[in-house]
């Protein structure tokens, strides 16, 4: 096996060990914060309906709310180790099913937005760098500032009103079904979600390209008469994309699990919304599972970024010089 292949496998192994430790730390942290927060799940569950002492007692026993903190955590951990994350206190449905029903939508939306961010962000950023100082460059910078400054729910409502309600080009709500249906339903949400990230990537790509454009090896390649396409892909992009890869891991994970405002705006049932609803309802079983999932998504996304890093830049041997 090549040295790079060995490096990648070693990297994956180390990250998996880190994942286990992280999962335990995150779960304990989330459990502690929920335990300390005011209010309890029974009050949220019963809301403002009249309640009988028997109902309160039964629900308290059901969710072990009368047990000490560590006992509650241990009960949860025992079940979680067997991949039994319990039932949602809000909906009474199994936590794993609730997450399973929303995960594909969040993944589709996150990956769709990520592709838009990378393709448009890198493409436009590169173009702006190569037309530095020109009208296009100034336009790109201006639009980027507006994009990053506009809250996603504002952009979302505007896009929804114009393109879905008035023009009827896209569906108004929901995630659709089937690949084509989902693509149509999630285009406006993905564009909304990608807007701020794209502006960020444009800025970084432009800066990275500007740093590489004046390098000696690029000047030499031009002098040798290599085609513009070859210079772009082999000399410019490969060197300039390294900082983009660095941030892409964080960006991908935040697009998958942090899209709550976009999900609410477009009525898309995803993980972000589930997280916020569960936090409001002090739905401990759901919150625990989503927190763990977020930790896994972040770790996997960053691992993928590091692997791409290794593949893109052969000089990097991660941890070894």
């Amino acid at each position: 096996m090549s040295e790079r292949g060995t490096l990648i496998l070693t990297l994956i192994g180390r990250r998996l060990i880190a994942l286990v430790a992280l999962v335990v730390i995150v779960s304990l942290g989330v459990f502690s914060l929920l335990y300390l927060a005011p209010g309890n799940a029974v009050d949220v569950l019963l809301g403002h309906r009249p309640r009988t002492p028997a109902t309160v007692r039964a629900l308290t026993d059901q969710y072990h709310l009368n047990k000490p903190f560590l006992d509650q955590y241990w009960i949860w951990l025992e079940h979680a180790a067997r991949l039994n994350f319990g039932s949602s206190t809000q909906t009474s449905l199994p936590v794993s099913e609730e997450i399973r029903s929303r995960l594909p939508t969040s993944l589709f939306l996150g990956v769709y937005a990520f592709i838009l961010v990378v393709v448009i962000g890198v493409g436009v950023g590169a173009l702006a760098a190569m037309r530095r100082g020109g009208l296009l460059d100034r336009l790109v910078v201006g639009v980027s500032v507006v994009s990053v400054s506009t809250p996603s729910f504002v952009a979302g409502v505007v896009l929804l009103y114009v393109f879905a309600v008035r023009l009827g080009w896209f569906p108004v709500f929901g995630a659709g079904s089937g690949f084509a249906g989902t693509l149509a339903h999630l285009t406006l949400p993905a564009v909304t979600l990608a807007a701020a990230g794209t502006a960020f990537v444009v800025k970084h790509t432009r800066a990275a390209f500007l740093g590489v454009l004046d390098q000696d090896h690029v000047v030499f390649a031009k002098a040798r008469g290599l085609s513009a396409t070859r210079i772009f892909f082999a000399y410019l992009l490969r060197n300039a994309v390294i900082p983009i890869v660095t941030i892409s891991g964080v960006m991908l994970s935040s697009l998958i699990v942090g899209a709550v405002l976009v999900e609410v705006t477009f009525s898309v049932q995803g993980l972000g919304q589930l997280l916020v609803q569960s936090a409001n309802a002090k739905d401990i079983p759901m919150l625990q599972c989503i927190s763990l999932l977020i930790a896994v998504v972040i770790l996997v996304a960053n691992l993928l970024a590091d692997i791409v890093y290794l593949l893109v830049d052969p000089r990097i041997v991660l941890g070894r010089r």
Binding site: R57, T91, L93, S267, Q269
Partner: protein, 529 residues
């Protein structure tokens, strides 16, 4: 109290007005025409139709189309037969219901008394979220034969009469439940009911689909299909309505919905949701009755309704005229309301009351509201109005959960004062708001947030439920309302209107504040023109 109890509107049971047994009619109200149209409805998500676990199924109206109660209300808000073709009340502690023959569940199995007993026992079991619907003196529910159900109370209680008409106590099939115990009501399983529609699919992330029940005892439903979509916010729902993707929705924030949807809502006078300013009498300055009366005179109700966002009418009593009307005639209702001191807006009288109080030179106080924008708006308007009579109130906003916690807490003196809405759990004037009245409810875990009551009020609340005599009950509630007005622990401000957003393709002539109690509600929707 700062908690919004509007959800109770969805669980209102009928009045105890017509307690005599009625010979049943053999069909539902009107004969629904056969139809091939699809009605498209929008709401927030529903995760289960197991009412033991969640009330969203009936609160949002979906469950009402699948599961039916024993009785419903007619257009006069009187009890009328439904799954029970008749009922009798042979003794003060006994009710007997005769089950309608020929009623079938969606799977073709016949409805029997055993299904009724099983369903009601399920709803009232210890720990059930629906247990509060049943009076504590309910002794037993038994099937005396395949078509007869007997209710036995340990003592006379007129609040039982309305319980069988509660939309949250819809009858389901016992056999179906036993075959799907662990997943009953959940996506993939659903429920088996006698309603005009059957649940074909339920997905909490997208919506539900209902198809016409081929065995429905009331004839062909007007819609062959109901497509129910779930939305994460009312803005989305309103936009979908505007785009013509849904035909009907029940908005919570009426003003925002109507504006975003570009539609005029269908509105009717409300009967069961009352906005109030409540004062904890264990806390200063609200412990002073002159301060409370000063507040009553100082509140400009039309202005406060505007601040709230409209869709409400001024209200002078907690128990509404519609609720009293289920016990007495309109003339009797007017007589009762006429006897209650009205506290019309009058700053001079308000200031005069303050002069008689322990704070003639003014006082500071803290009001608490939850963070719902409408509640915050009206609370700010109340602060401004109290300022004019020397009450310098500071407004604090907290999350609904935090407000619930402190309102139900052991330290009753710490229960906050401020704006709150009350939702009646019944149209019966005794049962409707009794969860918030009486000294026994001024305790931890209960909802008498003013902590006010007197031995006389306690007695009235008990006596009102112990008798079925209409004249006696009207007299009791007259005195109750007078006592409340004189002590003024809470000031009714408005009664919320009941609203619906309905596509111009349809009309709903029978829409009223008790729409959920008048048979499966979608039977009343007709094509326009």
């Amino acid at each position: 109290m700062k908690t919004k109890i509007g959800m109770f509107v969805a669980v209102v049971a009928a009045s105890g007005m017509a307690l005599t047994g009625c010979s049943g009619s053999s069909s539902s109200s009107g004969s629904p025409k056969a139809g091939s149209a699809t009605l498209r409805v929008g709401s927030t998500a529903i995760s289960t139709l197991n009412y033991d676990k969640s009330n969203a199924g009936y609160a949002l109206g979906l469950g009402d189309l699948v599961l039916e109660p024993l009785l419903v209300l007619n257009s006069n808000n009187s009890l009328t037969p439904w799954l029970a073709r008749s009922w009798t009340h042979p003794k003060p502690t006994t009710y007997i219901y005769n089950i309608r023959q020929g009623v079938k569940f969606a799977d073709g199995d016949p409805l029997t008394a055993a299904d009724v007993v099983f369903s009601l026992d399920y709803y009232r079991k210890t720990g059930s979220a629906n247990q509060y619907n049943f009076p504590s003196d309910l002794k037993s529910i038994t099937a005396t034969d395949p078509n007869t159900v007997q209710i036995t109370l340990s003592k006379p209680d007129s609040s039982w009469a309305v319980v069988p008409a509660a939309s949250q106590l819809g009858i389901f099939e016992k056999r179906f439940f036993e075959a799907h115990k662990s997943t009953f009501g959940q996506p993939g399983t659903g429920v088996s009911g006698t309603g005009p529609w059957q649940l074909t699919s339920l997905d909490p992330t997208t919506g539900a689909e209902l198809t016409a029940n081929p065995h429905y005892w009331g004839g062909q439903p007007p819609f062959s299909h109901i497509s129910w979509k779930f939305f994460t916010s009312e803005t989305d729902e309103a936009l979908a309505f505007r785009a013509g993707d849904i035909d009907l929705a029940f908005p919570q924030d009426n003003t925002a919905f109507a504006t975003t949807a570009g539609t005029k809502l269908l509105t009717v006078p409300g009967a069961t949701v009352v906005g109030t300013f409540e004062m904890n009498v264990l806390d200063k300055p609200w412990s002073d009755v002159h301060v409370r009366r000063a507040v009553a005179y100082a509140l400009d109700k039309p202005a406060l309704i505007n601040a709230y966002g409209g869709y409400a009418a001024p209200q002078t009593t907690l128990i509404t005229s519609a609720m009293l009307g289920t016990v007495g005639s309109q003339a009797q209702v007017q007589q009762v309301l006429g006897a209650v001191p009205p506290y019309s807006y009058n700053l001079a009288k308000a200031k005069a009351e303050m002069q008689q109080s322990a704070y003639p030179n003014g006082v500071t106080a803290t009001l608490v509201t939850d963070s719902t924008s409408a509640d915050v708006n009206i609370s700010q308007a109340i602060v401004a109005e109290l300022q004019r009579i020397g009450i310098h109130a500071k407004l604090k906003t907290v999350s609904p959960d935090a407000l619930t916690t402190v309102s139900l807490g052991k330290n009753r003196a710490a229960v906050p004062s401020g704006f709150s809405t009350y939702g009646a759990v019944s149209l019966d004037p005794g049962e409707g708001f009794d969860y918030a009245m009486g000294s026994w409810n001024a305790t931890a875990g209960n909802w008498n947030s003013t902590n006010w009551s007197t031995p006389a009020v306690d007695q009235i609340v008990k006596e009102g439920l112990a008798t079925s005599d209409a004249a006696q009950r009207m007299s009791l509630y007259r005195q109750l309302l007078i006592d409340y007005a004189n002590a003024a622990p809470l000031i009714p401000i408005f009664a919320s209107e009941t609203t619906v957003a309905l596509s111009s393709k349809y009309t709903w002539p029978s829409f009223s504040s008790t729409w959920q109690l008048k048979a499966p509600w979608a039977l009343g929707i007709k094509a326009a023109g």
